[in-house]
Symmetry: C2
Subunit: 208 residues, 2 copies
DNA sequence: TGCATGCTGTGAAAAACGTAACAGCAATAC
DNA sequence: GTATTGCTGTTACGTTTTTCACAGCATGCA
């Protein structure tokens, strides 16, 4: 089992490496990749050790090969299908953002309660009535969900998603969700993030 | 100096506590707050120890008092002013989201390059031409910035913000930014977060 | 070939983080 | 008042994560 932090960094390495593949870079040293990713060379080498990829002294790492190696770790056999619930401002922004990037993750269904949104294709993805969550998530074997609904209904939505077989939730609602063991939850509350940044900004200002 | 993780949790505690203040709850035990925040009671007590707040056995913590205590730690004397650069889908979503919540953090200026957006008030906040970053950020003593611009210009925007005196950056562009020491940086790339969730979702599915 | 160089892989140390355990005290019951 | 209960503050411990340091090896050059 790979640690959370390592998985995040691997995702970043992959992205940086794929840009280099496009530029026809054949190989890179650990300190070069580390510098691009803003981590220490030791950190990078250790991360690669975890996934069992090995470079060679004096030559470094084969860019394309390494990128593919990370893919096989992160994606497994096939990329995951993603559902997004709550097509407000944030939901639409995320869906169109993900469409723009080449990513192995495809948002295959979105949900909302507003009848002006349901039944249409928004930001390139079909929007369904929220009552159809169980039917569609279970039917299409969707394993990952993004929650961008108001906080007062977030728990209810999470429960329905879990009951439909969702195994991972990315939650943007500013409320701590309760999910059973076996379901992975990542909270990305905007307010918390900003307050954290504001705190440390002040901290470093006071040092001046 | 308080750790990052602790600051995040304090922000969460405060939010939960303020909801209880509205409901006229006078006091709560550590295990009650911990349960709301989905952490262990020991974790909560330790976090409060860090900020020097002390409850009393048999009585617990005074809700309103504790909330104010957290405020004085996180906010200091006065709440920070925030600027947001890049009024695309995501930028607008974040601005209107922050307006909706009562928060000590106020977005006082937004910036964009699109002349259809600049000069107007969008989502309740004035949008300026991006060339005015230095003038307005320095002039109004804004210390925190949110970056929601495309990744190819993110570094350039970050540099300008840093030169204007910004001390903390919340970055939503999917690229690692380079900032000097003394400037706090938090990355919130959506793709990375989703790939992480997808990885652990698959991991827990395979265990079945 | 043999030597020097410099990068990799990894074990060991250090730091950060969370958990468990318990002494001490406020409140209540009697 | 005294005993009991049960929660807090804090210390000690275990775990995770990062950094350090160096042995070992591929490469380039004489």
């Amino acid at each position: 089992m790979i640690s959370e932090k390592t998985v995040e960094r691997l995702s970043l390495y992959r992205w940086l490496l794929e840009m280099r593949v496009d530029k026809n870079t054949l190989s890179l040293f650990s300190h070069q990749i580390a510098s691009m990713a803003c981590v220490t060379p030791a950190q990078l080498r250790r991360d690669l050790m975890v996934i069992g990829y090995t470079g060679s002294p004096g030559r470094g790492y084969l860019v394309k090969d390494l990128a593919e190696s990370i893919c096989s770790v992160l994606d497994g056999d096939e990329p995951a299908k993603v559902a997004l619930v709550g097509m407000g401002n944030l939901g639409r922004a995320i869906v169109s953002f993900l469409r723009g990037r080449r990513s192995r993750l495809k948002v295959v269904a979105t949900f909302d309660t507003d009848s002006r949104k349901t039944g249409r294709v928004i930001s390139g993805c079909r929007c369904y009535e929220q009552d159809k969550i169980e039917e569609i998530v279970a039917g299409r074997q969707i394993s990952v969900a993004v929650i961008t609904v108001p906080s007062d209904v977030a728990q209810k939505v999470a429960d329905r998603l879990v009951n439909s077989g969702i195994k991972g939730i990315l939650n943007y609602a500013p409320v701590p969700l309760r999910v059973p063991d076996g379901v992975y939850l990542e909270n990305r509350d905007v307010t918390t993030a900003l307050e954290k940044v504001a705190y440390f900004a002040r901290e470093s200002k006071e040092k001046e």
